[in-house]
Each structure stands twice: as structure tokens, then as C-alpha cells.
Amino acid sequence: MTAALTRRRVMTLTAAAALAAPALARARNKARVVVIGGGFGGATAARYLRVLDPALSVTLIEPAQAYVTGPLSNTVLAGLRPIGDLTQSYATLAGRHGVEVVHDTAVAIDAGRRTVRLAGGRTLAYDRLIVSPGIDMRWDAISGYGEAAARVMPHAWAGGDQLLLLRRQLEAMPDGGLFLISAPPTPYRCPPGPYERASLTAHYFRQAKPRAKIMIMDAKDQFSDQALFEDGWKALYGAMIERVGLSDDGRVTEAKPAEMTVVSEFGESHKADVINIIPPQRAGKIAQDSGLANGTGWCPVDPATFESALAKNVHVIGDAALAGAMPKGAFAANTQAKVAALAIVDALAGRPAATPTYLSSCYSLLAPDYGISVIDVFRATSEGITPVPGAGGQSPRTADAAFRSQEARYADGWYASITGEIWRS
């Protein structure tokens, strides 16, 4: 990297906002980008499209007036935070960044005509489209577990209502009761999430219902950060948390909400006082309905631009995308959104695509002062999106209490920073 090139790049970014907007607007017709989904992926993309090219017209389509984040949601279950701490507003994206925020649901994409139709009846034209729809539950995967059953056995894996329902159930559970968590097969949103959920619920039980038990029925044998979680559970909660893996008949195949029972693969019934079923998942509904997903249920994309492999001028980011080794989570969606936004700005200006880089930091809390992390640095290669050898990895297994406590503080810091970046700055 020469000094001249660095200076030129710095100029490009810092001067663009102040100087280039009128010139660009005059130089060409105002290009239109529509973004579907206002979570970590879509909201990041909308923000940076406007920052990188203020001449762009950017419309963000999101049904919710306020967004309740998945990250930190387990602290609400444990009574450590109110749900207001997880609720993000679109006021800054609209007011400061000039993003047109439309509270509606995208129901159809016509990639040939380059239009998006909304449930409210509006049709929007685009030059480029970003689809960041998150996940959809596979309601057909566990017999008896549909949206009605989820009102008795919540998934609490998306949205505030489900989260608060599970919190109320945990509060009402008697001491000595059993809380059962059914964890899904890979891939799914937030790989360490079910295990953080077990940890923070155990922390709550420790204070409020010390004779309670937690059982994780798992549809896989190995899970994210397994050794770190198992060490932590033993040290913090003794025998309160038990986990049954796939090979030991951990996969739940049927739910019976009327009996508060689940049935596992080999036919055994398990009754519990509170049951949280995190079902198998796929890309969000609009991705399925508009042909952006393949047979896996997820959306294949170009590893350097996140442009769909199945539709031109459409980029799919976040949990919905098949992004090689990248875990499905908020930071991954955020880093993908930045790459896709720059790829779109460059493509619309006729510039070649920049060389991408992807970073993901994923924190989990085992207790309020006990945090662990997984870091991944990725590149786009001929093999797809692959981790950089020798970089990244998990917190050391041998770390002391001060290290775990510092990582817990940084977990809070990460949340404050990334939500601040996207929704408040």
C-alpha cells in the first residue's frame, strides 16, 4: 500500500459526504436502492449506502415501528434488563441519514422489472435491491409445532412478544420445576444462543428458584463454544443444566402443547413445566417466495458482493444468506451489509468491486460477569467465504475470572457500539 493510495482513499470517504453529493446528483439520475428488512443487516446497509453515496435514494422496508434485537434477548429472560434496552428506533436513519423508512411488508419481488410490491399496495422500483429478511421458522419440521403451539411453547427466537411470553412463563414456574430447551440443527440464527439462554436462565433460577432444573434437548452432537460453556456451567451452576445431544436421543420430533410434553426421535416423551422450542430455520419468507433461496432453504450469493446467485441486481445479506463459514448473527449481518453497500455504490458508479474483508465478534454471557467470545476473520476466496488461517478463535479455556469479567463488560460494550452505529449515529 503506497502512501498516495492511502491518502486518495481517505479523501474518497471523508470528502464524499461534504463535497461530492451535488456533483454526483447532477452527473447522473438519482439511483434508487431498496432495502428489505430493518434488522442488523438491512439497517446497516441503508445507513452506509447513504454515507458512502449521499446522492443515492434509499428506501428501507420494515414492518415493525421499533426493532427488538436478538442480541441481549437472553438478559431479558433472566430479568437482568428490561426489553426497552433492546428496542431500536428508525428515527436517526430517517432524520439524519435521509433514508425513506416505509413500515410495510414486502410481498413480491420482480427481478426482471426491478420492482418490489408491498402488502399495503405500493410498488417500488429499484436499480439495486438488498434483501435482509432474517429467518423464517420451519413450522413443518416438528410435528405439532406451529404458530399456535408457539403461544404455549414459545420459540422466543425473534420478536419481543415471544420473548416476553417466555419470561412470564419462567417467572411463573415453581421452584423445583423443569425448563426444557429444544435446540435446533445447524445452520440457525446465533449458534451459541441456546446455550447462553440456558446459562442466563440458570443464573436467574439460582437466585429465584434454586431447585429448578434446565434440560437442553439438542438436535446436534456438537455445539458452538462447547468446552467453554460446559466448563462454565460446571463452575457456576453445578448440575443445574443437563444437555442431551443428538446421538443420545436429543432431537425433538413432536410437540404436544396440551400435555406440555415433547417427543424425541426414538419415541420417548419428556414433560416439563416450561418448554422453549427453537425450531429449525430457513431464510425469511420473502426470500422463499421470490425464488432467492435454493434447496437448502438459504440464499446462495457471490462471496465478494453478496449479489444473489439466482437474481441479478439483488443482494441477499444477513442470516438468510449462504455465507460459507460465517456464523449467522448480528455482527456477520453488519459486516456483510457494509461489503454489499460498497459493492452497490461502486457498481452504480461504474467502478470495479473493492476487495472485501469480513469480521465477526460473537459474545455470549454465562453470567452477568462471565463472558466468552468467538472471533472470525474471513476473506472471499475461490472456495467461497473462508476463515483466515491462524486468526480468530474462541476465548482461551484457561482464562481467569478477570478475563471472563472483562469479556462480559465488552459484550455490553459491543452491543452499545453496534446498535449505536446502526440506529443512533
Binding site: R7, A354, T357, S361, V388, P389, A391, G392, G413, I418
Partner: protein, 91 residues
């Protein structure tokens, strides 16, 4: 090329875009290097200081929770580029 890459681990065939490198930092350190929470801000630090810190994290000379694991993912050229980018953005 003024900088010789001597990264102890992986050196990317092609250096990543400096803007995207800086945006990777923003997720934790905040946009323009200003962190609203307990993660240290980068605002006001010189390019030389940021580059030296990254090299020290990468080599394990400076203790860290996550920065050592992160810094190992980048070449010398990328560390220089991202340090200049962040210093210029967050003056």
C-alpha cells in the same frame, strides 16, 4: 510497495479495501472511532499509534481479550492502511 509483509500467520493475496477494513472496526469501536460504551474509543489516536497497537496485539506483545485474535487476520500493509483510514476519519 514500501512495506514488506512479515505477518507471522496468513497474508492475503490481495490487500482488503481500506474503507472496508475501517468499517470492520466500527462494529465494536463505534463509527469514526467513537465508542459509546466500555470498548475503548480510537478517536484522536494517530495512525502510528493505531498501527503499533495492532502489531503488538498480533505479536502477543500486548495482552488483550479479542484484539490478538483479530489482528492475526491482517497483513502489515492492511494494518498500515486501516490505521491511516481510522486516524483520518476520527480526527
Amino acid at each position: 510497495m514500501a512495506v514488506v509483509a512479515v505477518a507471522p500467520t496468513h497474508v492475503a493475496a490481495q490487500a482488503a479495501d481500506a474503507r472496508l477494513l475501517a468499517l470492520s472496526c466500527a462494529g465494536c469501536h463505534g463509527p469514526n472511532g467513537q465508542s459509546p460504551g466500555p470498548i475503548p474509543s480510537l478517536k484522536g489516536q494517530s495512525a502510528a499509534a493505531i498501527a503499533a497497537a495492532l502489531r503488538d496485539f498480533r505479536a502477543g506483545r500486548r495482552p488483550s481479550t479479542v484484539m490478538g485474535r483479530i489482528a492475526k487476520g491482517y497483513s502489515d500493509a492492511e494494518i498500515e492502511a486501516v490505521a491511516h483510514q481510522i486516524a483520518a476519519q476520527s480526527k
